[in-house]
Amino acid sequence: MKGSAYTLIYAAALGTVCALVLTFAASFTAPYQQANREAEEAKNILVALNVPIPEKTPAKELLILRDEKVQEIKRGEVTTYVYSPGGANAKPEAVAIRFAGRGLWAPIKGYLAMDPGLTKIRGITFYEQEETPGLGGEIVKDWFRQTFIDLAIRGADGKPGIIIGTGEDAPNRVDGISGATMTCNKVQQMLNEAIKSIVKEK
């Protein structure tokens, strides 16, 4: 029977080789993955702001489209992404902010777009999430994101914030997802933080 020392050396050697192979794979694909992630983010800003995107736009053109159509404007401490179809000096059509927070399993990141007067939501997208597929993962689906359109960002009492889940009918409430209450609560919390931060800077 082979000894313990051999077992240890074998395990160490195998571990090292596997780690090296994966390090090589990760560093080789890193620039491609980074480019994909950037394109994904650009696409999400555009979708949240409801900027028309031609079908099957290649990743590189998405970045160009974003740089053309969307301006980054600092409002106090909050970076906003402003869409004005008529050019930089024309009246803006929508304002988006980035939001992020802890999801159930991993960070959730996305964009929330509102009208320039900051009264209603125009669109919402999530570009990073690892929620449970089929339950919390449904937040990225069209049917859920569409319920947010035209949602008021203030309650009847005028306080900024929205409600995701059950409750009385209110202009600032949308239905949550059955089986994904934890995800919905977390999304509600991070959206409200984002909304408060932008309302404060106005």
Partner: protein
Amino acid sequence: MAENKQSACVTCQPAGLCGGKGLLTLKDGAWRNNPLAIQVLGICSALAVTSRLENSLVMGAALIFVCVGSNLIVSLLRKRTPHRIRMIAEVAIIATFVIFFDQFLKAFYWDMSKQLGPYVGLIITNCIVMGRAEAFALQNPPIVSMVDGLANGIGYAVVLAIIGFFRELLGTGEIFGHQVLSSQWYTPNQLMILAPGAFFALGIVIGIFNALKGPEPQEKK
């Protein structure tokens, strides 16, 4: 059975690669002992990713790659691997192949990688891969182990493709995203896209495979 084995040897031996077991191994993995339809292993991913044919094919390709690669390495190392840590060694090798494939998808097939989500990573825990490494590659030389990995990968991929084909066709009326069944006379059956549809489809496929294969030969008492 004995006859069967001999004829397989005759066809394969001129190639001189598989130790005379190649064809038999191939047939066994892909058909007689099909990992999904006969052994009913690894159905978690089979149910999860088969809502579209394209996803099913990519997932099948991933499993073939992982199964062939891990069987080869496990078999090459089989005489050097200490018995006590063999399983952990197998998992490390399998995980390396899976993560490699996952990184590749993320870099070059971003949309596909997003659709498959966590299921590529979950191949690490797929019982087919581990099962083949443990049951076959540990006892057999490298080339025939690769054939075994290929056979089981194909067995998995074919069943996935069949399920994916019917789920996409009946669930959306499309194949590869192209409209096949006209919406004028076919109303897509949403059930096929949802989880229960996968169970029904898999159940029917298992039934058909078993019916075609015929009953197990009775053991002589």
